[in-house]
Symmetry: none
Subunit: 224 residues, 4 copies
DNA sequence: ATTTAAGCGAGACGGTACGTCTGGTCTTTAT
DNA sequence: ATAAAGACCAGACGTACCGTCTCGCTTAAAT
């Protein structure tokens, strides 16, 4: 007797044929992660994953279009809650804690994958989109909550665009991570957040009168 | 140490054997750039470069260790002063102008190569180092000058680390460039610089008394 | 009460579970034949057979050890009496008619399968044996009857080994069929049989005296 | 000064780049033969050939379209004059000797390849054509010479088509070789040739009067 | 009526070969 | 000496097919 033709996935799908082997799936993801701990994504081959997972290459390519996607899945599965989303009562402190936690993660073996994904995305726009969709936006949503709290509490200038806030806080770290200039550690993270919150501008500085002085500040009007 | 025939051919052309090397080299660089306008670095093959340049693959590999390095040379040769280093009298304005100019460049066909290099560097640390050495540090040196002027003039808080300033200004744009979230245009650039200079913190906000209040601001001391 | 363990199929088997689906069986054979009309055995896949027959691949492999055997069954089922075994009163005429009929069949879509089986057999000795057992020997038995009649009637030299007679008559056609040199049609068939019956030797030819003259003719004595 | 554009390979070709490695070529052919001594063509893989020959797979596929063609080349190179073309003064004896020699070869490890090629040809018409062109026709040309001599000498009935003669002599052996029914050895070969030359027909047999008697013998008129 | 032993369709799986491709090296002849 | 031509090696790629296995369902004999 066939039942749920209407609700695609009500209760239990119970499809006809042999079910997808969860052992195979998790073996693939696990093997992928293990290999990625030692080699860059580019150097890890589909064959190696298959061999290590005790799985056929065909099985990999049945479920994933290419090894990058396997790695992305492995990454997402492997990083369950490894970066905190603190709520200390102070947005600045929240961001500081979060950036420290995130930096610690990104400099770990697993976290280094972040860079590999960005790299892979540069020659595969579809993959980059997937990566944004499935990883980046989730992270940003969490961070946006912290920003929102700061704005609501009156800590953060509401004039500054939320997206820019996020990029201001995370961009520098990610830049350092990718380009490898500049160190990454707790105190750098603290300094970055402090700088972003405090701003560069010296408050007692008196601008000399200029033709276009101030124009830059005022201009910004709702593009995007 | 590399031989650098490229820039030092003024003195003595009179070498033994055949010396078509200069045409060959510039043909290689030119062909590389042309190919990179249409395809990512990964998809441009050494064979394609050789074919287009009318050159033997061996010639390429005689002078460069791999195709990424060819591309880097092509990039450096092709981008002579395409990003301005303005001096308006105001550091904020300087950075704004520069970021706008840089964004315009980075979103151009040639500029997109920046991302390709970062990507390539993720699986080739040696290349990443070269890229930093030969491109990134040059840019940063120029930018550091602008920062220095701002500090000297009293515009920019001297407490903020210069390297962090640079990453704060360029990091967000580069992050957007690489990850593809968020738009990049003049007004975004202006808003970013404005935000970095002004800071996120709302000046009239009164921190509630907290256990660790202020600690973050002061801490920064000899990390790692 | 169970009795018929000895007599494989005495009366009615009536085994316990669900019976073998005859629809599935005939659908498989039919689909196989249809596919083999368009592609060689090697290019017809088990998946394609299953799909076309509306049957599971497992069902195929439950009843047949591999697709060659399926094809052999399909072939045997499909060629019920498509080659005549004439009895005209003359062995030569019988063979001529039969060879014409057989050539017509072997050059037909279904008949071409003969070659596929021979081909398959070259890398699968077990299959070749089955093919001989189930097809070839049956054909040869029929042909041997024609030969026997000829011998009994005094038409055919009894000194010539029956097996050789058969191979002499069918071998040339099958060779042409497999190698594709030489045409196959009624008049070729007639000419072949005529040549086999008439022999190549010119009767009025006088052998020059030779050391070993005649030795070949006489020798043949009971080896193997 | 170069002149010989007309004479394809006059003197020395001296092409520009690196020449085709004869070591690689002969290593490939040798490795292929060695592997084919133990496994059927279907089971010998391109990878195995490459590995054994110490050669890259790309090199194989650069010069041959597929492994069957490699095997054909290996076969042709490996069988230099392994089958004699005797000239004893008697066509029947020539054919007997030749068939014995050929049977000995075809039942050897290398000779077994003949069957593999015929088999491969059944699913690859292009290959079959190559095989005919490069192997079969050469053999047949040699055999045709023997036939011609027999005809000229008056040994062989000139009424019998030469192609049919060849198929009559070789067809039965090849049929046995491929189908595996019937033994193959010197005495069988002798018996076959004797039967072909002597014909099946018993000379003292008196045909009963028949409607179409004799028609078959006369009909043959220039089809083909 | 219930149990139980098949058989079945669906389709995932491990294995393995295929033929292609690219990166980077090496060899030969030409300049 | 150095270039162009181009063959070469190593090895990953993604696809295809084979024959096996697992699942949930169906059928029919045996209980």
């Amino acid at each position: 007797m066939r039942k749920q033709q209407t609700l695609e996935h009500a209760e239990k799908p119970k499809k006809r044929g042999r079910h997808r082997s969860l052992e195979a799936k998790s073996a693939i993801l696990k093997a992928t992660l293990q290999l990625l701990e030692r080699e860059s994504l580019r150097k890890v081959t589909a064959d190696a994953i298959a061999r290590r997972a005790g799985v056929s290459k065909a099985t990999i390519y049945k479920w994933w279009p290419n090894k990058s996607m396997v790695a992305l899945d492995a990454y997402l599965a492997g990083m369950t809650d490894r970066v905190a989303t603190p709520d200390t009562g102070s947005a600045e402190e929240d961001f500081t804690e979060q950036l420290k936690s995130l930096t610690a993660f990104y400099t770990s073996t697993l976290g280094r994958l972040f860079c590999q994904f960005i790299a892979e995305g540069q020659s595969d726009p579809g993959f980059l989109a997937s990566f944004r969709e499935r990883f980046l936006y989730a992270r940003r949503d969490a961070a946006r909550v912290m920003w929102r709290r700061g704005v609501d509490r009156g800590e953060i200038r509401s004039a500054v665009d939320g997206e820019i806030v996020l990029d201001l806080i995370y961009g520098p770290t990610i830049f350092r991570l990718l380009a490898g200039h500049g160190s990454l550690n707790d105190s750098e993270s603290e300094a970055m957040v402090e700088a972003v919150f405090g701003g560069l501008r010296r408050l007692d500085y008196q601008r000399r009168p200029q033709k276009k002085a101030g124009s830059l500040v005022k201009r910004r009007n709702g593009q995007r």
